[in-house]
């Protein structure tokens, strides 16, 4: 229970359906840890704020369930925040939400569910799970509300995790959820949606990284470097590769006739390579550390729609095995813009999530 309308509605719904429920909020990050980042006036949408815990506790009281705050700050820092920072420093663009799902929400939290004797965990994610008799597998499907679908962040879930997970909002659209929350008179019915990466205030991840590295006593490396064109001309300077992500246009500080985009970053040489829009197009890439969900794997090439970032419209492609069984090659029908190292690649067959891996 994050204190938001989605997980609050889930709790209320399950109680109404007669289930025996225990409410829990995961305390993941201490906002006071990096005080320079958090303005005094910061509103909602920050993860684990006292306000959110207050809201969750109030809903638990309203629907009459036991409620606890469980502290996973240590695991969250080790398994989500540190990898997030390391990825950026290595010139990649990480997705911490996926790591959090893999290692915290559907792992450590599931252990806590076991500890208190709960059979299932239920969350406010927009996604669907179903058991498929013929294959004997738990399948993951896109949410009915496509605009809210969160399967992109759930591609790492194992069969064991899916077997124990309920997504009661998967068949509902957001407006229905809000209506239901209002109808049940939940105090959070009109609370705004959370945005961005929960532990990074205002989406300013570069400021977060600077503050975090300072807090950890890690001296900022000499990260200054050159901005070069695809044909090797140096046309400017930058403050560090972690300020850039593939496809980025703003913040280069260079006037040019044609719009310039970041094509790639190289932490070894501290170079940021820029070019025109066409330079961003890629026809194929390797997805690593693949997790299969609705199918066991690929031997022959499989037709799929592949999504390479959260806001990407999944594009038709062929997914084929490689010599390394943990990797697959994705070949798009039409080259796609900004295939970004560090992001996830999720393979869909219609609504079905076949699996996914990491662009690397």
């Amino acid at each position: 229970m994050s204190g938001g309308v989605d997980s609050s509605t889930v709790a209320a719904l399950l109680v109404r359906q007669g289930h025996k429920i225990v409410g829990m909020t995961m305390q993941l990050w201490n906002q006071r840890r990096l005080p320079e980042l958090v303005p005094e006036t910061a509103g909602h949408g920050r993860c684990c704020s006292l306000d959110d815990v207050y809201d969750a506790r109030r809903v638990a009281e309203q629907v009459g369930i036991p409620y606890y705050v469980v502290n996973f700050e240590k695991q969250f820092e080790e398994q989500v925040v540190q990898p997030f920072v390391e990825e950026y420093l290595a010139g990649r663009t990480p997705i911490p939400c996926t790591l959090c799902n893999n290692y915290i929400k559907f792992d450590r939290f599931l252990e806590m569910a076991d500890a208190v004797g709960a059979h299932y965990i239920a969350t406010g994610h927009y996604a669907r799970v179903r058991y498929d008799e013929p294959t004997g597998r738990y399948q993951l499907l896109r949410a009915r509300d496509e605009s809210k679908d969160q399967t992109y962040f759930l591609f790492g879930l194992t069969q064991k995790q899916l077997a124990r997970t309920l997504f009661p909002l998967g068949e509902m659209v957001k407006t229905e959820v809000r209506e239901l929350a209002r109808a049940m008179d939940l105090s959070v019915a009109d609370k705004g949606d959370s945005q961005e990466i929960c532990f990074v205030p205002n989406g300013d991840y570069a400021a977060f990284m600077s503050a975090y590295l300072k807090d950890k006593g890690i001296a900022p490396q000499a990260t200054r470097g050159a901005i070069v064109t695809t044909d090797g001309r140096t046309i400017g300077e930058h403050e560090g590769v972690h300020h850039f992500t593939v496809g980025q246009r703003r913040g280069l500080g260079i006037a040019a006739r044609e719009p310039l985009y970041v094509i790639s970053t190289d932490p070894e040489t501290q170079r940021v390579v820029v070019g025109g829009n066409d330079d961003l197009l890629r026809g194929r890439f390797i997805a690593r550390r693949v997790n299969w969900i609705s199918i066991e794997g690929v031997t022959a090439p499989v037709r799929a729609q592949v999504k390479i970032r959260n806001k990407h419209a999944a594009a038709p492609a062929t997914v084929q095995a490689t010599a390394d069984p943990t990797c697959v090659e994705v070949v798009f029908e039409d080259a796609q813009r900004a295939v970004t190292p560090g992001q996830g690649a999720v393979f869909y067959d219609g609504d079905l999530v076949l699996g996914g891996g990491w662009i690397g």
């Binding site: 225990v22 705050v69 502290n71 240590k74 252990e111 806590m112 076991d114 500890a115 208190v116 004797g117």
Partner: protein, 384 residues
């Protein structure tokens, strides 16, 4: 489902006779104790009767008792009041590593203001070595602040020895007595303490009331400013119903202490014997001697304490992982770490604190629930 309470070091229920005192005061005695008239006098009488009752429990004279809003305020007033009393270019405060945050955070604030602070270590038994105090004393030391009984372990510090050493150096001693009052006999004269903090809600009185014993002649500057209440030591219109309740609770504690201590120690021993007999990889943290009769801190190797507290609560048993304010605590208990426990073992520890309502049947039921929970958690847990 029935719920049983084993967390009396966090807070206690208000005793029936205490409640009666508070209620009659709330409904009938509404005067301001500073007023001249009949109504004020009635309040003043309640106030001073309570002062005599609290003084009697600790063998002090009533004029040495200052009422506060609770233990935290008493600790703040004692430490800030003594350290800031005369202004000095240099000041040094000695406390211990296992104090309550009301003392530790106050010391930290003084540190920010330029005061030097020494935190004395404790042994694996959980006690301060008086020789360490002797070595830590400096010419500029202005106060020693050591708790009487620890909230997490129940271990009782050698206060009389500590007082003697402090006084030999001409330094006053403040003792946070919040967890000792009502559990063990307290005599401020035989202990020779100069300041002693007390809390109502640990003594079967309501929250929001406490007291500080200030030995006659101790220099104490006020830390809040206003009227001339409490002999210019603590301004603000007195919380007469709360204070009267504290007085009633003090009297009740004085009357029942000997018998209740024996009863609680027997229950505590019954719990520990049962746990140690039935659960492998469990043990007592800190010394088993010289502790308050109601407190037991036990580790269960391989079990996550936080999960255990929740699992037990869902079975109807209220226990805690240490100090009550744990909902944001990632760091394991500073008290257990100071004893020399590993972070893992500290995270696997639970505090049981017994009180008036507990019975042998409840203790046996708790031991059953503990055995079942530990077995379950060890079976499913891969981390911990």
């Amino acid at each position: 489902m029935q719920h049983f309470y084993f967390d009396h070091n966090a807070t206690t229920p208000v005793a029936p006779e205490v409640l009666e005192t508070a209620m009659s005061c709330l409904s009938q005695v509404y005067g301001n104790a500073s007023s001249i008239h009949h109504f004020g006098q009635a309040a003043k009488q309640k106030l001073e009767a309570a002062r005599r009752q609290v003084a009697a429990l600790i063998h002090a004279s009533p004029a040495e008792v200052v009422f506060t809003s609770g233990g935290t305020e008493a600790d703040n007033l004692a430490i800030l009041g003594v350290v800031r009393a005369p202004s000095r270019p240099q000041a040094h405060l000695i406390t211990s590593a296992i104090e309550h945050s009301a003392v530790l955070a106050t010391a930290a604030q003084l540190e920010r203001e330029g005061v030097a602070v020494t935190h004395l270590p404790v042994s694996a038994a959980g006690t301060v070595n008086p020789d360490d105090l002797r070595r830590a004393l400096r010419p500029e030391t202005v106060l020693v602040s050591i708790m009487h009984a620890n909230n997490e372990l129940g271990t009782v510090q050698p206060i009389a020895d500590i007082a003697r050493i402090a006084h030999e150096a001409g330094v006053p001693l403040h003792v946070d007595g919040v967890q000792a009052l009502g559990k063990i006999a307290v005599d401020v004269d035989s202990l020779a303490v100069d300041l002693y903090s007390m809390s109502g809600h640990k003594l079967y009185a309501p929250k929001g009331v406490g007291a500080l014993y200030v030995r006659k002649g101790t220099r104490l500057a006020p830390t809040t400013f206003g009227g001339h209440h409490e002999r210019d030591r603590r301004p603000g219109t007195e919380n007469v119903p709360g204070i009267a309740a504290l007085g009633a609770a003090a009297e009740l504690a004085g009357r029942t202490l000997t018998a209740e201590s024996e009863r609680l120690a027997a229950l505590r021993d019954r719990l520990e014997a049962s746990v140690l007999d039935r659960i492998s990889g469990a043990g007592i943290n800190g010394a088993r001697w010289n502790r308050t009769p109601n407190t037991s801190n036990i580790y269960f190797d391989g079990v996550d304490g936080e999960a255990m507290v929740i699992a037990l609560d869902l079975r109807g048993f209220a226990v805690s992982t240490g100090s009550a304010c744990s909902s944001g605590a990632i760091t394991p208990s500073h008290v257990l770490i100071a004893l020399g426990l590993s972070a893992d073992r500290a995270r696997s520890s639970l505090r049981f604190s017994l009180g008036r309502s507990n019975t042998a049947e409840q203790v046996d039921a708790l031991a059953d629930a503990l055995a079942a929970s530990v077995t379950h958690l060890r079976r499913i847990s891969v981390h911990a």
